[in-house]
Symmetry: C2
Subunit: 372 residues, 2 copies
């Protein structure tokens, strides 16, 4: 499937206009757009522009309320519980992480949970907010059920990503991963590219392994059984119960400690109900932050310098690919799948945005006409 490269500033401007047209203030549109474009700059195409149409649909269906305001319903010096009142996930999340950071700066560490929210984009964005201010950041979210627990056949947990960010040089440690083998977004990319799924990624509605991308995505929507496997795959021997365990940890720090909906109850009966969790820790409560940062940076460098497997040239530390991707994609442009371009165009037409003012004549794009 063909990709088109667009300048990230053009995509940013388009995205900001799109969200104002969907009912958000200019300021809120900027916040949401920054999360999406950061994902594309990180090279995580599944969580960038290609999600725009799903947010549009979420608003149309009434799952996402553009005017909602987050409300703190419980708090202590080290914690808060926030009700997002069905608002946009990114707005609730940025607000919650800012509260966690503020409390951690005063108390040393703090955790904030959020209920009644919606899809918030990449978990790593919020963890990195803390690291950008010299703190350790943690972020997690539950989501519509797509993960089948070990020995089950029905999706009961979300992709349930958790992200950790820690200040380091020359770039922060940033580990952001779904607790499934892969995300639903990755399956959507495979579906757009009309590719079969690799082994050990997904189960059919009877709980057997399958390669059929389209049917897995359909069964997730219809909730008729089937879904994605936990990290570690199909059996206890390969550690599938561990991925399932990490998904539970995510659930505890999002839906359980916020008294919100667990993944298996979100996105049903016209209610979103996604829950998030955030934590910030000031390394100063463990000693000299500069020394800790240096100690950690040394270890990261030792990992990068460690002997490589035969045939490999490089060991990455987490966040390294993202840091390098930002520079490269800013220079080369953001690659956008033509199907995503088509969705963006549909949305622009629907919302009354002059698409060609941003991107020129899209009908000239190779492969685009076949989508009509």
């Amino acid at each position: 499937m063909a990709h088109i490269r667009y300048d990230y500033r053009t995509l940013t401007a388009f995205c900001e206009e799109a969200f104002t047209k969907l009912g958000f203030t200019k300021e809120d549109s900027k916040v949401i757009t920054d999360v999406l474009i950061t994902s594309d700059l990180f090279g995580i195409e599944s969580h960038g522009m290609q999600r725009l149409t799903r947010y549009d649909m979420g608003i149309q269906k009434g799952l996402i309320h553009p005017g909602a305001k987050s409300e703190i319903v419980f708090q202590t010096p080290v914690s808060a519980v926030i009700d997002a009142h069905d608002g946009m996930g990114q707005l609730a999340a940025v607000n919650a992480m800012n509260i966690a950071i503020e409390k951690a700066k005063k108390s040393g560490m703090a955790m904030v949970t959020v209920r009644n929210s919606n899809h918030y984009g990449i978990a790593g964005y919020y963890a990195k907010m803390a690291a950008d201010q010299g703190l350790i950041g943690f972020s997690c979210t539950n989501s519509e059920a797509i993960m089948v627990p070990t020995f089950g056949r029905k999706a009961m947990l979300g992709s349930n990503p958790m992200a950790f960010a820690v200040p380091a040089d020359p770039y922060p440690f940033l580990f952001d991963a779904s607790t499934t083998v892969v995300t639903r977004g990755k399956l959507e990319m495979y579906n757009k590219a009309e590719k079969e799924l690799p082994d050990h990624w997904a189960l059919d509605c009877k709980g057997h392994p399958t390669h059929d991308t389209g049917s897995v995505l359909k069964s997730i929507v219809s909730k008729e059984g089937g879904g994605i496997l936990p990290l570690g795959g199909y059996s206890e021997k390969s550690g599938g119960h561990k991925g399932y365990g990490y998904a539970m940890v995510c659930e505890i720090f999002s839906s359980i400690l916020s008294m919100g909906l667990t993944s298996c109850h979100t996105n049903t009966d016209g209610v979103g109900g996604t829950c998030h969790g955030f934590m910030a820790i000031d390394p100063a409560v463990f000693g000299n932050p500069g020394e800790i940062r240096k100690h950690f940076s040394t270890f990261l460098q030792e990992l990068r310098d460690a002997p490589k497997a035969q045939g490999q040239t490089r060991i990455y530390t987490h966040g390294e690919k993202e840091a390098q991707s930002v520079e490269r994609i800013k220079a080369e442009g953001v690659p956008v799948d033509v199907k995503t371009v088509y969705e963006m165009k549909q949305m622009a037409d629907h919302a009354g945005i002059d698409f060609s003012a941003y991107f020129g004549e899209v009908s000239e794009v190779e492969g685009y006409h076949t989508l009509y």
Copy 2:
């Protein structure tokens, strides 16, 4: 390989005497023994009695100092850093978790890191200490390098387990897992049973997959390359970088925030240097603990009740197997591998303990004589 079943009270009494003979006080011997026997009762044979001989060797080699006292070197109301001064891991860990629990009861949450310690047994023991008091518990430890980072060929990270415990009914949630596909202890059990390794567990010294149990264990000791794969296996496609990422999280909360030795520097040049991390969170900082517990217990029951894969009869929640194992093994006896019995006998003879007073005439045990 044959197993012999012994009553857990007999093993407890033997173990307590063994540790006093190794130089620990009666009280300390009871603490250490409880961690080991709990592991055997949980059905985690790899971390129970079979580790006794390794602790004995650790003391003989001078890695473990039986007389060492843990010292708090830095603290705030939400944190502490402890120097274990090369003491026994279990003693440093129980002390550290108790401090985390005490601080969490006052401040809402607390994290304690430990440096210059040794192998501490099962991570779950300490996480459960918090859950037994109505708190959320977290525990992690680094260890001698056995995990090869994605695209590497040399072990740079430990098995780096993390454990999470959360109060629930009818039993607590207890998720305790190495961030490798399997633990070194599991490889030791395979070696004792003279079994080959399954696919996707380990790499040889060039960074290629291998099934050779003995050579992997040897290469871990000689540090000549090779080791165990992270959870998620060999490639990024199956999520190996995620297991590597969780191992990094463990390292951050143990060796980094204690300014201790990272896994690749522990257990070298006659120094242990293992580091641990502990956290306790009072659910009361998120609302009514009873309601949160009920909310979580409902979700756990929904998981157990969810539709099973064709051919499966049961979905477990984490900690369920352990809770049921305790009852069963207390009734049936602890299964101990005859090679472990042999090691226990050797240790008893060496330390001047009357082995037969505890276990009768071991030479009558099937398979035992072949070990001499």
